[in-house]
């Protein structure tokens, strides 16, 4: 009788899955991809793609093995190259990965943004063509949304795609394209209906960056780094099969993708705050001194405690949203707003608590932690601009959540 209890069967299936996962990881996760790896082995930030280079060959091996299993997107059905796992199995997988301190095998805009909307809006052929390559890290994607004249007012975008029979002819310019110089393909918003109202003339198009007429130019940021590019399209011919969804129905897909992006950015800010070794309390203790285990300066200490309280409350709110079943797109705006503003504030506090070391730029007189903090702090200034500014999020909340009238 007991054997017929579905819960017990379920439990034992999960236990079995856990056991198999453990064994697989034991055999397949290379030593340098786990916690306790030799610090002398160079660490790669793995984004995959046609031109990926690896300082450590085990980074590639780990990506290939996880990609083959479909475990870089474990909930995606197997027919599209995913892991085909249930939510419960993913939880087990994550616990086991966490347990051995496994490194994330692949960072990918394809995983975070494109694949979820392809699953929802793509044709069967498009899903089969693109999702497996995202999962295996074979193709690196970038996002072509903003344009020089279309920032917050994204729907005014002007890059046009004309119908020339078998193909679209694309002309225009994108900006803030993250890592466009390293990406293989771009998912772009293009204007296909110049006479339609602005939201109704936009299409969602996939473009191979190797096509003739596509070029990129990196933009140097205030942090001194160049994670973004300008991307130019000069008479680029794109096959019509690369259109996702209906012609002129791209805005709906674009908004959906932005939700995935916002959720990602806000979680990322928080995860960075909680998990990173760059902790405001230890930085304050290092630079301001410690007395009886306390940050020695009371003004900083109280400001830091206030900040930590907000961080704690924000973390609990993410948890509550999860417990409530993660409904409502408007909460994505709240998380994007709060997560990024909080991350900026956290970096301001770390810089202030570091004194002049917090604004170190280069040379041997400062240590790497200080110099990296300066760059990281400058980078956070973009957090509340990219993916929709804080002001845009406030607009979304006031109109969609609070129901306040338009002017």
């Amino acid at each position: 009788m007991i054997l017929n209890n579905p819960n017990i069967n379920n439990m034992s299936n999960l236990d079995k899955f856990r056991q198999e996962t453990k064994e697989w990881l034991d055999k397949n996760c290379p030593p340098s991809m786990r916690s306790g790896a030799d610090p002398k082995i160079p660490v790669d930030e793995v984004w995959g793609g046609r031109n990926a280079e690896y300082k450590n060959p085990e980074s590639k091996l780990w990506l290939d093995r996880m990609g083959e299993k479909g475990w870089t997107m474990p909930t995606v059905p197997k027919e599209y190259g995913g892991g085909g796992l249930t939510k419960e199995e993913v939880k087990v997988l994550n616990e086991e990965l966490f347990g051995i301190g496994a490194k994330q095998p692949l960072l990918s805009f394809g995983i975070w943004m494109l694949a979820p909307v392809l699953l929802e809006y793509g044709s069967e052929e498009q899903k089969k063509e693109h999702i497996p390559k995202i999962i295996k890290g074979e193709i690196r994607w970038c996002q072509g949304y903003s344009e020089p004249g279309s920032g917050s007012d994204l729907a005014s975008l002007a890059t046009k795609a004309e119908d020339i029979g078998e193909k679209f002819l694309v002309n225009g310019q994108k900006v803030w394209t993250s890592y466009a110089d390293k990406a293989d393909w771009i998912f772009a918003l293009v204007r296909t209906g110049p006479k339609e109202p602005k939201h109704d003339g936009i299409s969602f198009l996939l473009i191979d960056m190797a096509t003739k007429g596509v070029s990129t130019k990196p933009i140097t940021l205030i942090s001194g780094k160049s994670p973004f590019c300008e991307t130019f399209f000069d008479n680029v011919e794109v096959p019509k099969e690369n259109l996702i969804g209906e012609l002129n129905a791209g805005w709906t897909i674009a908004k959906k993708l932005l939700q995935h992006e916002r959720a990602f950015i806000s979680n990322f800010g928080l995860a960075a705050g909680m998990g990173s070794k760059r902790d405001v309390v230890s930085i304050a203790k290092k630079h301001l001194g410690e007395e009886n285990g306390k940050i020695k300066n009371n003004f900083y200490r109280s400001e830091i405690s206030s900040h930590k309280i907000k961080e704690h409350a924000f973390g609990l709110t993410l948890k509550r949203a999860g417990d409530e079943g993660g409904k409502a797109s408007a909460t994505a705006s709240m998380f994007k707003l709060y997560g990024t503003e909080h991350n900026k504030k956290r970096h301001e506090l770390m810089v202030a608590a570091s004194g002049i070391n917090g604004v170190a730029w280069d040379g041997d007189e400062f240590d790497d932690d200080d110099k990296n903090l300066t760059r990281a702090w400058l980078r956070t200034k973009g957090n509340s601009i990219e993916g929709g500014t804080s002001e845009v999020q406030l607009n979304v909340i006031s109109k969609r959540v609070l129901g306040l009238p338009s002017q």
């Binding site: 306390k294 830091i304 405690s305 609990l316 417990d323 609070l402």
Partner: protein, 379 residues
């Protein structure tokens, strides 16, 4: 720890909401204030709460309670706070019920708890002696004399102190002011000889008193909990009180925000609804976020109390800080967004501001708890 209400908890919340809307709308509070009601709460409203079983929510079933937990009473306080419902529920149903259930001996429990459940008695917790909450600053003394204790000193800002039948008092049995050791709790009738109660008029028009103890002789059976353990026990009672008060303050903030939003959608200036102005929209959206964060904090703290989590103290300070700061913000913005009408006595929104500032002080301000959070976290 799931941060969503169970079906039963949601039912309690809905019941409380209906009760507050129907039986004690804000006009009820206004009439108590205008009539200079000495208790500043209404006997009939309280008996209805008693009939609903609310004072017994933290009390075990063997004494007639429902043992339904801090989350249960928290959501009731939250809903009642939306209409500023005054009642002895916080001082009696939370502080008194919890203190006696947790730290009372068998006699004390069987003596007091059934009477709390039946509404026969109300209680008050007397802690503070200075303008800022700081239990270790207790100066009031309890001197042992044979089988008696003799109480001398003065307690201030005692919630419901002007009407409570039973007092729970923090006093020093040894040590000096500033020590968190040497403190004990006592439970006694408020009409014991030598006690003088003076009603305290605060901005929020609620029931408070300053209480003097002049050579008050009580039997040693009045000791609540073990001798000189109150440094800890009182913190545990206060933490439950802080969490419950945070739930109340969350209700205040939600209500003031809702009233203000309605106003933004009705009031016209320059030929447009003022809610269409971005200067106001963005501030409203920011308040929304702060309220959401406060909801999560209060919820987590209530859950921690019911699960007796080792995060309880930190979450208590977290929720009192979040509730304090959010209500502070919302009560100020509510007035400003109402414009001139917001500063008139005739309009209700001012009640929320006055209640906010008093509630912020109860059992420690946001500043107090930010410091406590830092200490507990090792900052």
């Amino acid at each position: 720890m799931k941060l969503v209400l169970s079906e039963e908890e949601q039912f309690l919340k809905d019941t409380a909401k209906n009760f507050a809307d129907e039986r004690s709308p804000i006009s009820h509070f206004r009439s108590l204030r205008d009539n200079n009601d000495p208790k500043l709460w209404d006997k009939d409203i309280w008996s209805e709460m008693v009939k609903l079983g609310w004072p017994g929510i933290l009390i075990p079933e063997e004494f007639g309670g429902s043992n339904f937990g801090v989350t249960g009473i928290g959501v009731i306080l939250q809903e009642c706070a939306k209409t500023l419902t005054p009642s002895p529920l916080f001082a009696t149903g939370v502080l008194g019920a919890y203190a006696i259930t947790q730290f009372g001996n068998d006699d004390q429990k069987s003596n007091y708890l059934p009477k709390i459940v039946s509404g026969e008695i109300t209680t008050a917790l007397a802690i503070d002696e200075t303008s800022h909450h700081e239990p270790s600053k207790t100066e009031m003394t309890a001197k042992k004399n044979d089988s008696n204790f003799i109480l001398n000193g003065k307690k201030i800002f005692v919630i419901d102190g002007a009407s409570a039948d039973i007092l729970i008092v923090l006093a020093r049995t040894s040590g000096v002011i500033g020590d968190s050791t040497g403190l004990s709790l006592f439970i006694l009738n408020s009409d014991t000889s030598g006690i003088e109660t003076k009603k305290l008029d605060m901005a929020d028009s609620r029931n408070y008193a300053n209480i003097s103890f002049n050579e008050v002789i009580i039997d040693e059976s009045s000791l609540l909990g073990d001798l000189e353990t109150a440094g800890e026990t009182v913190e545990s009672i206060l933490d439950i009180g802080r969490i419950a008060m945070s739930a109340e303050m969350l209700g205040n903030a939600e209500s003031a925000f809702e009233i203000t939003l309605d106003y933004l959608k009705q009031r016209k200036q320059f030929g447009a609804l003022i809610g269409s102005f971005q200067a106001l929209q963005h501030r409203a959206a920011e308040m929304f976020c702060e309220i959401e964060l406060t909801k999560s904090s209060v919820m987590a703290a209530m859950r921690a109390a019911d699960e007796n989590s080792n995060e309880l103290q930190r979450l208590s300070s977290l929720s009192k800080t979040m509730a304090g700061e959010t209500l502070h913000l919302v009560s100020n913005e509510a007035i400003q967004m109402h414009g001139g009408i917001g500063v008139t006595d005739e309009y209700d929104i001012g009640f929320f501001l006055k209640r906010a500032r008093v509630a912020e002080q109860i059992f420690g301000s946001a500043k107090y708890h930010t410091e406590r959070y830092a200490n507990l976290s090792g900052f």
